[in-house]
């Protein structure tokens, strides 16, 4: 483990490179010539007002939408034109803002199908679920705290459980990069804390994470680095603690009240 971190320290090769990516819908540039990198094991937080192009950026990276121009590299490979299946197999798993789920499948089946098809594409999946897959599904059920709901159809889950299930189906594909689209939007404070605890466990496994979130307290407490988007462009990229002091971010996105709250949340006495 030590040797590995030395290796990455000596030659810091980024895991994800977004290079001059634009996405146009007619005359509207949802993402406008955006470039950034994510290092292995790093947590990048993305914020910005509604319509800033955050989810479109996720769609472009994960192959659900095509970039109008620019390149996306993952672990040195060009994935700009790859479909979502290939990108999943390459090691990127994402969640969706709209709490996607396979509603008629049980919680366990939701995770099983991701475990069978998400890590590598099986040539023929066979007629039985292999024991190694079952063990990975059990582990994901345990990690997400959904073990007690394994037999429930996903369509009957409450909001928090749906969000946890989406993360469970993502991590069971064994990604190197996890992309979370508003993972805690609409959750209560206690639910948010449960989510933070789970993400801390996931981080412990060395996964890089990109997360989009409007709940700034959540974003700045988890992220190593923060990127703020506005009209498809980057208006801030840097350490979370400087965010509330950036005049432009405060003006177009946070407002003065929220900036004070973030300063309070990042108080060295409260958060190390």
């Amino acid at each position: 483990m030590d040797g590995l971190s030395h290796e990455t320290a000596r030659s810091p090769r980024p895991l994800l490179v977004v290079d001059g990516v634009s996405k146009h819908f007619g005359a509207l540039a949802a993402v406008d010539n955006l470039s950034f990198e994510v290092m292995p094991g790093e947590v990048l937080g993305i914020g910005g007002p509604n319509g800033a192009g955050k989810t479109t950026l996720f769609d472009v990276i994960t192959g659900l939408d095509r970039a109008s121009s620019g390149r996306v590299l993952f672990a040195g490979h060009d994935i700009t034109r790859a479909g979502p299946e290939r990108i999943c197999h390459a090691g990127i798993a994402r969640t969706f803002q709209l709490n996607a789920g396979f509603d008629t499948l049980s919680v366990r089946e939701n995770i099983e199908v991701a475990a069978i098809y998400g890590h590598v594409a099986p040539v023929f999946p066979g007629f039985r679920i292999r024991p190694v897959i079952r063990r990975r599904v059990d582990a994901a059920l345990e990690l997400s705290g959904l073990a007690g709901r394994a037999a429930t159809p996903a369509g009957e889950l409450a909001v928090l459980e749906r969000k946890l299930l989406m993360v469970a189906t993502a991590i069971v594909t064994q990604p190197r990069l996890l992309m979370l689209d508003e993972p805690v939007g609409g959750l209560t404070q206690a639910e948010m804390d449960a989510f933070v605890a789970m993400l801390a466990r996931i981080r412990g496994e060395g996964m890089a994470i990109i997360l989009i979130e409007h709940v700034m307290r959540f974003l700045v407490s988890l992220a190593d680095r923060v990127l703020i988007m506005h009209h498809g462009e980057r208006i801030y990229e840097g350490r979370p603690d400087d965010l509330a002091n950036d005049r432009r971010v405060v003006d177009v996105y946070l407002g003065d009240g929220a900036a004070d709250l973030i300063r309070a949340a990042l108080d060295p006495g409260v958060v190390p």
Binding site: T104, T169, T173
Partner: protein
């Protein structure tokens, strides 16, 4: 009891009942209608994989059935193949056609799949009934390649008459039952296994399924090909059993009859298609006396189930059972 255990018990009981029918009711008409029921049941169990499990609104199933039937008849008639060899060949031809239809439907959604597949079946039907060019000339008449509007016959049979004498029809009955058991076991294995999970995931949420590594391209083709095999085989057996094939198997009322079987039994359920096939077949038999009302009754039944019991009989029953158990515990 586990789900596979339950399936096995239900299967064994149904087969045991079916196996006694020709001895309890040794009437030629009953045996023929039961054999026809087996043939239709094979088709609906496989159609259910596409329509119910994968949620792809394909109406191509009777065209695939016709592929198997016509291929078997032609191989027997023109190449003098034994029908025992022609039947699996016919099934494989249906698989190839199924793959092509699946490919054509890849980019289409919902009702457009229904329109395209129906159009394909109609084109095949029109090609056959307008085919009047002489292909072989006998002393009395000339036969077109596809048999034209009057169909194909005299291409042989399963040859059970030499072996069983007058009981050949019971022999065919058990061949049909054997094929149904194989088709049912196959559809259960597919629907309950990893493939079924992929089909249902793509049906429930396409974008999410693709983001979890499930290729729509691959598994849509797989479900079309898999469901085509036993459908084609059922068509092949239909040709072998009735010793004739005609363009009537493309008829809309037959398509409606089979669709009603799936909807009445329960779209996407494991045992629904078999239950539906049996009930609709018996109801259809009951309406035989009042010919004019058969299609009307069929249409009304279909409409009522779609409106009132969209999960069909087995789907509704298992939901009620689950609720009853839920309130009990």
């Amino acid at each position: 009891m586990t789900a596979p255990g339950k399936d096995l018990v239900i299967g064994v009981v149904l087969v045991a009942i079916a196996a006694t029918v020709p001895f309890l009711f040794p009437v030629r008409y009953v045996i023929t209608q039961m054999t026809l029921l087996f043939i239709y049941a094979i088709v609906v169990t496989q159609w259910n994989l596409v329509l119910g499990v994968a949620g792809i609104f394909s109406l191509a199933q009777m065209a695939l059935f016709a592929c198997g039937a016509y291929a078997t008849a032609m191989l027997g008639l023109y190449l003098d193949w034994s029908l025992w060899a022609a039947m699996p060949a016919g099934a494989m031809i249906a698989v190839v056609v199924g793959l092509l239809i699946g490919l054509a439907c890849l980019r289409l959604k919902g009702p457009y799949v229904a329109l395209l597949t129906l159009a394909i079946a109609q084109v095949a039907y029109l090609v056959i009934i307008t085919d009047t060019d002489c292909f072989i000339r006998t002393e009395t008449r000339c036969e077109p390649f596809t048999g034209g509007a009057s169909g194909l016959r005299r291409f042989g049979d399963l040859g059970l008459r030499e072996w069983l004498g007058r009981d050949w029809i019971i022999g065919n009955y058990f061949v049909g039952l054997g094929l149904l058991v194989a088709a049912m076991a196959f559809s259960v294995a597919v629907a309950r296994g990893p493939l079924g999970l992929a089909f249902r995931a793509l049906r429930d949420n396409l974008g999410y399924a693709r983001s979890r590594g499930i290729s729509q391209f691959k598994y849509q083709l797989v479900v079309f090909a898999l469901s085509a095999f036993f459908t084609g085989l059922a068509g092949a057996f239909y040709a072998a059993h009735f010793k004739s094939v005609g363009p009537t198997i493309f008829s809309f009322s037959l398509l409606l009859l089979l669709l009603a079987m799936i909807v009445v039994g329960g779209l996407g359920t494991i045992w629904g298609p078999i239950v539906g096939a049996t009930l609709v077949m018996f109801a259809d038999e009951g309406l035989r006396e009042v010919q004019d009302f058969r299609t009307l009754g069929l249409g009304l039944t279909l409409a009522l189930f779609v409106l009132l019991l969209p999960d069909g009989l087995t789907g509704t029953a298992s939901r009620l059972l689950a609720r009853w158990r839920g309130s009990g515990s």
